[in-house]
Amino acid sequence: MDLIEKANDEGLRRMLAADPVLVDVVPAAKAIAALDDKRILLHAGPPIDWERMCGPMRGAVAGAAVFEGWVASLGDAEELAASGNMVLHPNHHFDAVGPMTGITTASMPVMVVENRAFGNCAYCTINEGLGKVMRFGGNDAEVIKRLRWLRDVLGPVMGVALRDTGGIALKGLVARGLAMGDEMHQRNVACSGLLLRALAPSLARTAADTSALAEVLAFIGGNDQFFLNIAMAMGKAMMDPVRNIDGCTVVTAMSRNGTDFGIRVSASGDDWFTAPVEMPQGLYFPGFSEADANPDMGDSTIVETIGLGGFAMGAAPAVAGFVGAGAASEAAGYTKMMAEITLRQNPEWTIPAMDYIGVPTGIDIRLVVDTGIAPTINTGIAHKEPGIGQVGAGIVRAPMKCFEDAVRAFAKSIGVA
């Protein structure tokens, strides 16, 4: 159908023309004006109310309320949330994304990625590291203390340094990361190192307090997943200009809140197509099993939406073992399978080990439903109880119902029955 082909060409053109640049770190309320109001909290995934939230997300909501000083205790925070006096919205509704629970509140620092080809910006909080962290539902004193350090030390230091650089262009950096074995979802070792290398001169030049600088360098250097949140903001900045193209069947967002999985499609703008989220299949840290796991969660699937993560598994065979996807030689198979449901390869993001094919780009809801192949997502696994944290990593499939409903709605919208 000519309308769809032309619309999808335009969608792909916008995706591939994107120029994402990491430009700043600012308090979330400075980037997202709505957070200036009291007791507004953003979360991962499609819309959800407190009653339907899973354990880790409730834990993170409660921890964030304590962090912001809205209440004195976690118990008070739960009462506040249950009373309806805390306003909950998806990150995606405010140009933002967040990993796992994805909680974003007013004073949390967010990294700013500007898409210079289209003039829009997207935001994501700073990666807290592994273990007991808020993105996995952690909410005790140790978690809150780290968040305060991110707010008071790392965020401001990194923001000043980024402004000094004039911005760090991300497309080329990601291309190098792919060649060095990253897929930007469960492996960000190379890109985290490349980012630090690009940022270090400005950090050294602008940091007034050398002991704070040493802490910042140690934190970034010690966190292999530091770049994940930057890749996510990049993905959001790349995909937002693809929204609202009449006739375009390209997926512009995939996201999960631990209860529902949701997708957005270009032609249907801000509508969500949702289905119950699935349980990741993967490997567990010692002492944990599937019985401990929470269903899939987070806005991080924005990286699969732009052709990275599970779609770029062929670039990162080490990840296949880490997420329990089989032998390293099977990694390329995932990338080839994702090519069945996408419209193009990205010529700027290639996989050397696969004869430099480009990562599969532009998920087409028609191809997903026609082939029966659901997008493959590499993901972390959170404990189902709040406050414990990450217990493993694995692979999960997007529920087919989201895509089937999207196809039906799209067909109806253009008068096809």
């Binding site: 159908m1 769809i4 082909e5 069947t249 028609r366 191809l367 439903v369 026609d370 082939t371 029966g372 087919m400 089937e404 196809v407 039906r408 799209f410 067909a411 096809v416 029955a417």
Partner: protein
């Protein structure tokens, strides 16, 4: 009566391309016959309503 071409074909080594149920390929494999299996499933996993819509939408 099979045609001469078919008879000649069966005199040579047979390589089968199987599209559909994997069981067919397994049976032939157990008989020592080479089988190339095509990973195929009906459009829209056999949902005729969705398959019809998709055909109208250009897939």
């Amino acid at each position: 009566m099979p045609s001469l071409e078919i008879e000649a074909l069966l005199d040579e080594e047979i390589i089968v391309i199987n599209i559909g149920l994997p069981m067919f390929a397994r049976n032939l494999d157990e008989l020592g016959i080479k089988v190339i299996e095509v990973d195929w499933s009906p459009p829209a996993s056999g949902d005729s309503e969705l398959a019809h819509l998709l055909s109208r939408l250009g897939t």
